[in-house]
């Protein structure tokens, strides 16, 4: 090659941007739930106390409702939703079983430290039908966690407490360093919640679960500080192309 005519200029690689890693993780989880059979539903981030708490059996005296845990807006007329569960309540009120809804989005709690942020993301799912049992819930959680962490992941269910599920469980996975890591909360939908949504708890039962998206993203990507996700640093974001 001795002539300029035969030279090919260097290839132009097109600049590709990045979907935020939290939204990548959230979308991945939503897709997984869609494949299992859940239908995605949406709802507002500013919620009434009725949908955010009362309908979910979170009583007036529950600590989560206090001013130091929940953001109230406009003279306590509403709250910034503390979870995506009210989206499911709104959707259940418009439907009758069998139903399988997933909801995802930003939620707010009055926290701000190295491990907690005042805004984070959740993905939740609810399934209501005849004869839904705790052993079905275990199967579903296994499906989700095997997809996320591989078939060989060791999974542990622990009793826990959520006002909207009974029995309630927290689920851990065994990490490579031998420590159990909390991954999600789940349970059998409390019959009071079904009743609040005009669903007959004598006829139907349900299961529900919720994951913190940041928690999953931190584990999967190896990010140690949750605050990194919200610095909007191009050096950080650029790694998730």
């Amino acid at each position: 090659m001795s002539s300029l005519d035969k030279i090919n200029p260097p290839a132009i690689s097109k600049d590709i941007g990045t979907l935020h890693p939290i939204n990548q993780t959230k979308d991945y989880l939503l897709n997984l739930l869609t494949q299992i059979g859940f239908k995605e539903v949406h709802g507002p981030e500013i919620e009434s106390e009725d949908f955010n708490f009362d309908m979910l059996n979170i009583k007036k005296s529950h600590p989560a409702r206090q001013m130091h845990d929940t953001f109230y807006v406009e003279d306590k007329s509403n709250v910034l939703r503390t979870h995506t569960s009210p989206v499911q309540i709104r959707s259940m009120l418009k439907s009758q079983p069998p139903i399988a809804f997933s909801s995802a989005g930003k939620v707010y709690r009055k926290d701000d430290d190295a491990t907690h942020l005042p805004m984070f993301h959740q993905v939740e799912g609810i399934y209501v039908d005849k004869d839904v049992t705790f052993s079905n819930l275990k199967d579903l959680i296994h499906q989700i966690l095997h997809n996320l962490f591989g078939k060989d992941v060791e999974i542990r269910f622990r009793p826990s407490y959520f006002p909207f599920t009974e029995p309630s469980a927290e689920v851990d996975i065994l990490s490579k360093n031998g420590k159990w890591l909390e991954i999600l909360g789940c349970g059998i939908v409390n019959p009071i919640v079904l009743k609040n949504c005009n669903i007959d708890p004598e006829k139907y039962s349900g299961l529900a679960f919720g994951l913190g998206v940041e928690r999953i993203a931190m584990l999967k990507y190896g990010v140690n500080d949750i605050r990194e996700f919200y610095k909007s640093n191009l050096d950080f974001l650029g790694q998730f192309k």
Binding site: G37, K39, L117, R158, L234, Q239
Partner: protein, 632 residues
Amino acid sequence: MKFIYKDLLHFLSDKPSIKNLSERLFQLGHEHEINCEVFAMEFTPNRGDCLSLIGLSRDLNVFFGKAQPYKIFQEEIENLNLDFKNLSPEVCPKISFLEIEIEGNAKEYKPYLENYFSLLGNKKVNFFTDISNYISYELGQPTHCFDANTIKYQLIFENKICEKSFKTLLGTDINLGGKNCIFSINDEIISLAGVMGGMSTACSTSTKKALIECAYFIPEAIIGKSVKYNLASDAAHKFERGVDIQLQEEVLRRFIQIVRDHVSIKNIKIQTFDEGQDQKAKIPIDVKRINKILGIDLEEEKYLTHLSKLGFGIEKEIVVPTFRHDIASQNDLAEEIARVIGYNNIESKPLKITKKLDKSTDDVNRLKNYLIKNGFSEVINFPFTANEEKKSISIDNPLDSNKNKLRTSLKNSLLENLLYNERRQKDSIKFFEISDLYTKNNEITQEKKLGIIISGRKSHNYLDFSKKLDNAYLSELLNQDSKKQAFVIEEISRKELKTKKKDKIFYLEISIDKIPKHLFKDSESRIDQINFIKYQSVSEFPSSTRDFSFSIKDLEKYNAVIDYLSDLNDKNLKDAFIFDFYENKKLNEIKVGVRLIFQSNLNTLSEEDIQKSVNELLQPIIDLEGISIPGL
């Protein structure tokens, strides 16, 4: 809450090892850490009944059997005839008082009492208060000790609105507000009931005659008070979660026994004021329902045995013990059974959900993918802002009082993101954010908006390196017809931003609904696969840039040079790209400009560090005949 392992063993007929005990506690849902034979427990808020040795052992009895670990005073006790008025029996349906007078001082505490202080790090206060604190640990029932000589007039309990000040027994002055449960004498508040007693009636080391109050307060009347007045209190923690309404007299008899273990008792009198509200809840026996909830096949006999061992009464119905405020339904009982069986021992059974057709169009994800393909990075920002507009929504209890509004535009967040990255030496910035924005008029409205901000170089490739991102770029990106302005592109002035950079900043905000769909109709929908890369921590040290211009006279070597430059590798090399390409037809040579960006995660790189890396990276090219770097 902390428990001494050996103390727990006294309450169990079997004597499990620490490991065995720990495993069963996890099975029952009681998280904990163990340090020097002390279990530091974390209980879920519904299990206030476990906040004592007897409470936790009641759960463990199902595995390790029950033992009677302590003595209580069994003899008959004279009635106290206390001048007491309960004006709010609805919040305090049961209250007992013990008046106890002692002779002499306790020289030293018995081991069971001493260990509570020495092994758990609790602070001794005075004889009566020390016993009160120990009993709360042992039986879960808070008691309060008044110096009996200070209670000279009628003692009144009431739940009422009061705006008075009150000095706690720790000497803290608090101003009460709103409704509070209080004990008072002659209109003077002497105790914030269920939370903390007052200074004026507190026992001291010289107190010989004490009045011990032992009550049941409904949780709703106590919840929030310790937080409101910033009074950390074991009593409030327990009352908020509910204590056993049937335990008060036994607790006071245990109190007497502990006193008698240490000193001579001169006189004791006792009195209980009971509104008779301690009825036990009952739930029908329905093992089929339990099996249906859990997906198991448990025999009724086993089911009832499990519940019996947990303290439930088995009659025609299941009788819920008065310490279990969290049990009211078949689902609650199902959870009890699941805990005893072990959640991990319940078999998984396949769940198949019938899929319904999801007709959602996924426009937002297509739009995002369109922008990403055009080099934009997505950011997510918090909605809290100081910027106030008439339509802004106010946060009543913001984390930061300077950010007490919800943003009504994405602009300031994106501008902050841009400036942050400029300060980190980024010269080509293209960000977008999609978020719901909330505003108020007569009612709260919600609108999903796209915000885009751009500044700096159009790209790092040699065709665009010297071109700047501008209004035209954004218009073209969003295919805007200049005759029909669907949205306005704003140039943000740098005057007020105090930045050294001169590149123009352009911003656009548009409602998602107004973006022409044809723009992104061919873009991909939501990702269904994800490559979870292992993230490398971002350097906080400055980067250094070096530009080199290669003159390639031997065109035979052109491809090798380009290939080599495309694959540079050095531990401190963060980025490398060809920013210039020029064919000099006159001289029959090619010029290639390369930018190398160096940055370390460990320190600020010195000139020597960079030069060493440069030499190692470029020497193989420089060594080639017919290739030179003019000026090097």
